[in-house]
Amino acid sequence: MKKRHPLVHVVLILGAVVMIVPFVWMILTSGKTLTESTQVPPTIFPKKFEWSNYSAVWALLPFGKFYLNTLLLVIGRVFFSVLTSAMAAYASARLRFPGRNLFFGLVLAQMMIPGQIFITPQYLLAQQLGIIDTVWGLILPGFVSAFGTFLLRQFFLTIPNELEEAAVLDGASIWTIFFKIMLPLVRSGLVALSIFTALFAFKDLMWPMIATTSVDKTTLSAGLANLQGQYATNFPQLMAGSLLAVWPMLVLFIIFQKKFIQGIATTGGKL
């Protein structure tokens, strides 16, 4: 693939414009007054950037709490699901015990079933546990991950047996082998799973909407859905709110974009 046609750039630039215009328009609108935003024909740049739209939505919704709750949700889900998945994946890839296949079948079954089927009972469970409206309630469905178990299993399967056998001969326990030898070897898998889990926790909408009852206990994604209810058509403020909700992940992505893209690519390549 040596020859490059100039058309390649034309097509890619066109596509890139389609991808970012919505974001650009969001930023521009968020700086306009309501009258300015509904002007016909529209102006492209705000006459004067209205920061008041930001203070207005910030005053209306507890964004500080949204950030905190989202952060806790992401950290909680990543920590628990990566830890439990790594353990389960290691066992099902490298250890032999009765019922291993049954367990793996369980993992596969969960991956096939649409998530909505779990939601009502998960919600009733969260109620029984009394964790509706808490960070634990938000994390709940992500304590374990069938997807993560499957993914990391693929990584563990590729590690050659010799390393492990040498360690066993040295008298290392399975626990030591797992933590000291195997986990470092699947580091790229752990990173990939962490990114994947973080991204999907951040984007989850239906569960936080259901699992929280007060506004200051919810996440950015679901909190923003609230904003729409209150400010049906104040577009500049809606756009300001949207920006407040998208920037953290956007910034993280731009800083760690290599890791993000590698992470996502690995998750696909391993399945």
Binding site: A16, M19, I20, Q228, I264
Partner: protein, 299 residues
């Protein structure tokens, strides 16, 4: 290792650690997924009396479901969404991936820009598009106006709203699948292209004889996950289309209908029956795809 105790073909040590290691995930999956799935199926045979109370009604919900035009319309909408959105997502992602699988300038910039929609919260994405598609002041109608096109009710015209939702769905999904496909393309050994070039094959022929067949394993994964995602579409519909309108009737997916009955109208029994229907459909379609896989995927 000969000194370790064994039971049959297993080592005791491995049995103990194996169970300890799978314990959290196994318990989690049973409590959070398997039991809920069974509960939902059980609930679908019940009528909810509010505040979590249930009474057994046998097949009533399913009888009602079969006779409910809203369910059939939602199923039709879901199919329509999937049939249109999936090919668009796959084709666009593949084109972009192939274009980016070259040594060109600004590659990482392109990749970053195309991936941006993937990291944006769906609620924000929906809000942004809702504003772009606004019939009075939206950028899109304003631009079309320059060409003398009358304002289009992108989100409230019952015949159009579903296509608008599809556009947003495709836009949001390209970046993710593009990255997966680029990874798949990079696994194709360069020698193949070099020998093809010696044979005088042009880029188009190279694409169809080398690239496409060899990327099918990744493509298969992309198709299966995109289909499953399409069948569960909810966020964009919920956020962009007005409740209880004709436009919603012609756009709502089964996943949205499930949400409406379970959490807006609080009829969790009927909602469960709807999601069981959705489960059945997804299982059938996934099974078909796995069957067809042999016909077009090269390993």
């Amino acid at each position: 290792m000969h000194h370790q105790r064994r039971i049959g073909k297993y080592r005791v040590n491995e049995i103990i650690w194996g169970y300890l290691f799978i314990l959290p995930t196994a318990v989690g999956l049973i409590v959070l997924n398997i039991k809920p799935a069974i509960d939902t199926i059980y609930m679908s045979f019940n009528k909810s009396a509010g505040f979590g109370r249930m009474t057994w009604t046998g097949l009533d919900n399913y009888k009602r479901l079969m006779a409910d035009p809203e369910v059939w319309q939602s199923l039709l909408n879901t199919l329509k969404y999937s049939v249109i959105a999936v090919p668009l997502i796959v084709v666009f992602s593949l084109i972009v991936a192939v274009l980016m699988n070259q040594k060109i300038k600004g590659l990482s910039v392109y990749r970053t820009l195309y991936f941006l929609p993937v990291v944006a919260a769906p609620a924000a994405v929906a809000m942004i598009w809702k504003w772009l598609f606004n019939s009075n002041y939206g950028l899109i109608n304003q631009m079309l106006g320059n060409f003398g096109i009358k304002p289009i009710n992108w989100l409230s015209d019952p015949d159009i709203a579903i296509y608008t939702v599809i556009i947003v769905g495709v836009w949001s999904a390209i970046g993710y699948n593009m990255v997966l496909l680029i990874a798949g393309l990079q696994d194709i050994p360069n020698d193949y292209y070099e020998s093809a070039e010696i044979d005088g094959a042009g880029p188009i022929r190279q694409f169809f004889t080398i690239t496409l067949p060899l990327v099918t394993p990744t493509l298969f994964f992309v198709v299966v996950t995109t289909v499953i995602g399409a069948f569960q579409v909810f966020d964009s519909i919920f956020m962009m289309v007005q409740q209880n309108t004709d436009a919603m009737y012609k756009t709502q997916s089964l996943a949205y209908l499930f949400y409406k009955y379970s959490f807006i109208l609080n009829d969790k029994g009927y909602g469960s029956a709807i999601v069981v229907l959705l489960l059945g459909i997804i299982l059938i379609i996934t099974a078909i795809q796995l069957k067809l896989q042999k016909k077009w995927v090269y390993y």
